[in-house]
Each structure stands twice: as C-alpha cells, then as structure tokens.
C-alpha cells in the first residue's frame, strides 16, 4: 500500500547540497506495524515527511495506496493526506483554544462530512481512546497522556489507511507511554497500518518490523537482527 522506489531528497542552498534521502526504496504492506530507528540526521524525518505528503521529493517514485503521488497538485495531495493518512506527533500538536471534540473535528471538516457523520465519528474515536467524558475539555485541562490520546483520536477519526507516528511517546512518562503503545497496538490489530519513528529500542521491538536508517538509506530492514545486535 506504500511503495517508494529510489526516492531521493536533496536540500539545496547556494553552495551546499545535502542528500537527506538517497535512492530510498521501501514497501509497506497493509496491516504492518513498522518502527523506524536511526541516528539523528539519518533521514527519518525526511522519510516521514515525504511519506505523509508534507514534503516533495527530488527523484524516484512514490505510490500511496495505488496512487502515484509524483504529479499531484496541492489540492489532490491535501485530499489524499486527509483521507489516507493519520498523523501522531511527539508534542501532540493539539490546537489549544479548541476543546477535545473540536480538535478531533479538524480533519473531518476538510473532508466535508455532514454534521451528523462528524459527530458519530468523533464520539466513536473519543470513546475508543477512553476520553468520552472529556470531550469538552481544553487540551490544557488534560494530562500529557490524555493529550496524546486526543491526538490519536484525531488521527483515527478519518479512518485512514495508515498512521504516521513520530516519537508518539517521546513526551510521556513510562506509564503513559505504555498505555499509548498498547492503544497503538490495539489499533494495529484492528487493521490500521502504523509507521512509527522512535529512539527507544524497547518500543521499536514491539513493532513487527524495524527499519534502521543511516545516511538517507535503509541500512537494515530486519528488526530482529539489528535490534539484537545493538542490544548485544
């Protein structure tokens, strides 16, 4: 459902060219839970930005759910992003002046669902993440773990084909991190594909597949081997 072939990304300034991704090829099948690890500057962020259609790439091809995204215009990319992808950010990125209900509502508004349809979806995902009683709380009235659950609910509301999670537990204590990971595993078990960037090896191990990136390339596409080696 996600196929990148020889994707490259070059950042150019007047005097310097930086290769963030080099002939990056990567396939994701439906229902996978993939962790992406690697040192800083290895290209994880660039990969996720390109996968999430937030950034253009310099070369190669990228097909998302059968659609070649190379020549899409802004409106088509936005629509594809809205319909197919859910984002979960390290710092939650909730809109502080909107309550839980309205934060979850944001992507649905751009989908132009009816009011009744939006309400049904919002109620369902808020219940799913266990925040049914907090629908009209502002983000500032919630704990970090609860805020991340709201972000997950927002990502799920549009019923996307896959979730892109960037350090989803990075700002949480271990107890909250565990509950968020369990929630993500539940979501994956229900069929949603997840790609998660993390620095934490114990979290990466819980994914079914791990890719390790270095210098803009996939250095290792087998989590068991790499993680075992680095543990040793």
């Amino acid at each position: 459902m996600l196929n990148m072939k020889d994707v490259s990304k070059i950042y150019r300034t007047e005097s310097v060219e930086t290769h963030a991704l080099r002939e990056f090829s990567f396939d994701v099948d439906e229902g996978e839970f993939i962790s992406v690890t690697g040192p800083s500057g290895s290209g994880k962020t660039t990969f996720l930005n390109i996968a999430g259609l937030l950034e253009e790439f310099s070369g190669g091809t990228y097909e998302l759910d059968g659609c070649n995204v190379t020549n899409l215009n802004d409106r088509e990319r936005s629509r594809l992003r809205n319909e197919k992808i859910g984002f979960i950010f390290q710092s939650f990125n909730l809109i502080p002046e909107l309550d839980v209900f309205d934060n979850v509502d944001v992507p649905l508004r751009y989908r132009k669902f009816s009011s009744a349809e939006r309400r049904k979806r919002i109620d369902r995902v808020i219940d799913l993440v266990g925040l049914g009683s907090r629908a009209h709380h502002l983000p500032s009235q919630l704990s970090g773990g609860q805020q991340q659950r709201v972000a997950i609910a927002r990502a799920l509301a549009g019923e996307p084909r896959f979730l892109l999670a960037d350090e989803p537990t990075g700002n949480l204590d271990s107890q909250m991190a565990e509950s968020v990971m369990e929630l993500l595993e539940d979501i994956n078990r229900n069929g949603t594909t997840i790609i998660m960037v993390t620095h934490e090896k114990n979290l990466a191990k819980r994914a079914r597949r791990n890719i390790f990136m270095r210098d803009g390339c996939v250095s290792n596409n087998d989590s068991a081997l790499h993680l075992a080696a680095s543990s040793a």
Partner: protein, 439 residues
C-alpha cells in the same frame, strides 16, 4: 465551511484581543477619515433631481463684452439679461421654461403682537414648480394666467406657513408683503435640492427660498435681485426700465427638453435668436450659446470645490497608510499562528482552505472595522459641523445616509480583504513540515 471559518475567525479574534483591536482601530480610523470626506464629496456632487436631471437644461447666451469673455477661456455668462430671458420665456420654444431670480420680501403678519419679518423669496414663472418637481403640502402653484396678469399670488414655504398660519391649510387666505396683499395658492412640503441646482450663482448649498411669487409681479413692483448681478457695460440711467433694458445678467433661465433632437433644435433656435439680436446691435461676440443639463451644469460650475477633491485624495492616502499598518499587524498575527497553519495543512487543509480561513477572518475584522469606521465618520462629520457651524448649509453636508453607511462597511470589508491578501498568501506558503518539527 464559511461558518466554520467564521467560528475560527471569531475564536482567533478573542484569542488575540489586542492585535485584533489594533487592526480594527487601524481600519476604523482609515475608514473614518476617508468616509468623512467621501460623504461630503458625495453630498456635494450628488444629483439633486435624479429623475429629471437629464431633461432640464440651463440656458447660457454669450451677450458679453466683445473684448473679454465673461469667464476665461471663452465661457458665456452664467445668467441671462431680462431682455433675453423674457423674450425666450415668451417664445415658449421648449416644452416648459422658467425664468427666475432671487429677491427679498418683508412679511407683515396680521396677528396681534407678530412683528414683520424678512423672508428670502424667488420671483419666478409658474412652470418652476412642475419643472423642478416641487412637492406641495397644501394647494398648488399659480397658473399661467396669473403670470400673464401679474396676479398677486404666493406660494409659501412650510416654515413660513407654520409661522403665519400655525401649519394649517392657508390656501385662499391673504399674506401682506411689503404693503401688498397676496393670495396664497399653495404651501411647499419639505424640499431642499442639494446642491440648489436652479441657482448655483447664489449659494450652491444654501436654503431654498421661503416664498415664491410671479415674476410679472416683481417686475411691476421693480424688485431688484438679491443675488448676483453682473454688467459688462454701464447702465445709462438709474431707472428700473433702464436696468431692464441693460446688458446686465441677473436671471436664471431653465428649459425642459426631451431627447437630443429637442436639445439640438432648441440650441439652433437660440443661435437664430442671437443672430436676430446681432442685427440690432447686440451680442457683439461670436455665437457661443450653451445648454447644460443639471449634472453638466453642476460640473461646469464646479459646485464641488477643488479643495474637496484634494482632501479626498489625502483621505484615500491616509486609508492606504492605515491599510499598510493592518497588513503588518495581520502578517504578525498570521506568522504567530504558523504552527496552527502547518498542523491544519498536515491534517488535510489545502492552500485554498487556509486562504479561505484567513480571508474570512479578515472579513470579520473588516465588518467590525466598518462599524467602528461609521462611528469615526460621524465623529469626523461632527468635527466639520463644529468647525464650519456658521454656514447654514453645513448640516446638509454632514448628513450620513444609509448609502454612505453601507459604503463604509463595504469599503472596510474590501480594505480588510485587500490588506489580508499578502499575509494570507504568506500563510498559504507556510511549509507544514517546517512547522511541525519532525512531521
């Protein structure tokens, strides 16, 4: 989605009250300054008789000095002589024609304790009222027979009727003016064409006259004009008849013509008339007769002072400066919300959606700025009223009607939208990835 964007806009205004208030203040100040002058220009340059202005023509004949035009470069005099005015009135070549001049009368009330009082008056022919569509509260104008027989009849203004008859219907009753008794045929309803188009040589924005009576009576009574009188050669004697026979211009002649054919026919008639006068030694200048309809005449007479146009330009420039400030404030506000924009882009908002969101927000600020701008305009007009309070017509110039209020709101919204274009364009260009750190 518009209602959603409006909701977000209101939320944003509440979240940034100081910045929003500054934007509203900048727009309101610009609109206030601009609309104050626009309003005065609008009132001054308005059409005083829109439904008939293209049918009414002011007549000019160049009976002036052979060596010097009445007004450079080659303008004929604004008014006509008695000789020409009465000749053209009598000829009746137009559908209707009216010859008139401004004069003054003293009314002597017959009630106990009421002192005589002076009134402005207009001596005119009967067609004045129908040609200029003057509204009547009671009765009607006098008829042509009254003109011909120099009947002592009078039409009163509403205020004079209040003063003399307590506002009751006075038709058929008598009024004594300068010792002569006049029979009342009618009372005008409220009527104040602005500008006072039929006689711009005597205060373009002055009040209409308080009393009207036949021209034939005023000529018989030897009532001189209280308006402008201009002569290019001396009157040989000081008698009334000598003045009437002179080349002095002091009367206003208007005709009613329908369509271009009637206009050109009448102009040809005027030329023929002048040629006939040349034959007896008058009209030493080349043919130079003019027919202007109401709005052409207002323009010719530069009823709107050039100072007002300069002020209008300055006011528009001031509005532009205010808008530049608004652009800066909007830019600051939008850039502060770059994270929010990046997030919305990541969640599926297209550039168009971001554009629509911020344009709607700017529109809301424009509406509030427009309403506040109306308040500022009222303040500005009040300032002008205080500054020029000694002129009796100033109240009419500083009146703000619904058209101007709507214009203020629309101008404010358009201004706010124009000011929002650049900041919104910048907002659309915000790269979501750069605002979301990693993702």
């Amino acid at each position: 989605m518009i209602s959603y964007y409006a909701k977000l806009g209101l939320l944003s205004i509440r979240q940034n009250p100081v910045l929003s208030a500054l934007m509203v203040a900048a727009i309101a100040t610009g609109i206030g300054a601009c609309m104050t002058i626009v309003n005065i220009d609008y009132v001054m340059s308005g059409n005083p008789i829109p439904h008939r202005s293209s049918l009414l023509y002011h007549v000019q004949l160049d009976s002036w000095d052979p060596y010097e035009a009445a007004e450079e470069p080659n303008e004929p005099p604004d008014q006509v002589t008695y000789l020409d005015g009465t000749a053209l009135l009598k000829a009746g070549k137009a559908r209707r024609q009216v010859l008139s001049y401004r004069t003054g009368r003293v009314i002597q009330p017959d009630g106990d304790g009421q002192l005589p009082f002076q009134v402005s008056s207009r001596s005119t022919s009967a067609d004045f009222f129908s040609m200029f569509d003057v509204p009547f509260l009671y009765g009607s104008a006098w008829d042509k027979a009254a003109d011909d027989s120099a009947a002592y009849v009078v039409v009163l203004g509403r205020e004079v009727n209040e003063q003399l008859f307590g506002g009751q219907d006075p038709v058929g009753r008598n009024v004594v003016m300068n010792g002569d008794t006049y029979r009342v045929t009618g009372v005008l309803d409220n009527w104040q064409p602005t500008p006072k188009f039929y006689d711009v040589s005597n205060q373009s924005f002055g009040e209409v006259e308080e009393v009207y009576f036949p021209l034939s009576v005023s000529i018989a009574e030897e009532l001189s004009s209280s308006g402008n009188t201009n002569c290019w050669k001396p009157v040989p004697e000081t008698t009334w008849q000598a003045f009437l026979n002179s080349e002095c211009v002091w009367m206003q002649l208007w005709v009613e013509l329908h369509g271009e054919t009637e206009r050109s026919d009448y102009l040809a008639y005027l030329d023929a008339y002048v040629e006939s006068q040349k034959a007896i030694g008058r009209f030493p200048r080349p043919l130079n007769n003019r027919l202007y309809n109401v709005m052409e005449w207002m323009q010719n007479q530069e009823v709107v002072e050039s100072d007002v146009k300069v002020l209008l330009g300055l006011a528009v420039l001031f509005l532009v400066v205010c808008l530049l400030n608004t652009i800066g404030l909007l830019l600051a506000k939008i850039m502060r919300r770059a994270g929010d924009i990046g997030l919305r882009r990541a969640l599926g908002a297209s550039r168009n959606a971001v554009f629509a969101q911020y344009i709607v927000e700017a529109g809301l600020i424009g509406i509030v700025g427009g309403v506040a701008g109306i308040g500022m305009t009222m303040l500005g007009l009040q300032g002008i009223r205080i500054l020029y309070g000694e002129f009796d017509f100033i109240d009419r110039l500083v009146h703000l009607d619904w058209i101007m209020m709507s214009t203020a709101i629309i101008l404010a919204i358009v201004s706010a939208l124009a000011a929002a274009l650049y900041p919104t364009w910048r907002a659309c260009g915000i790269h979501p990835a750069s605002q979301l750190k990693s993702l």
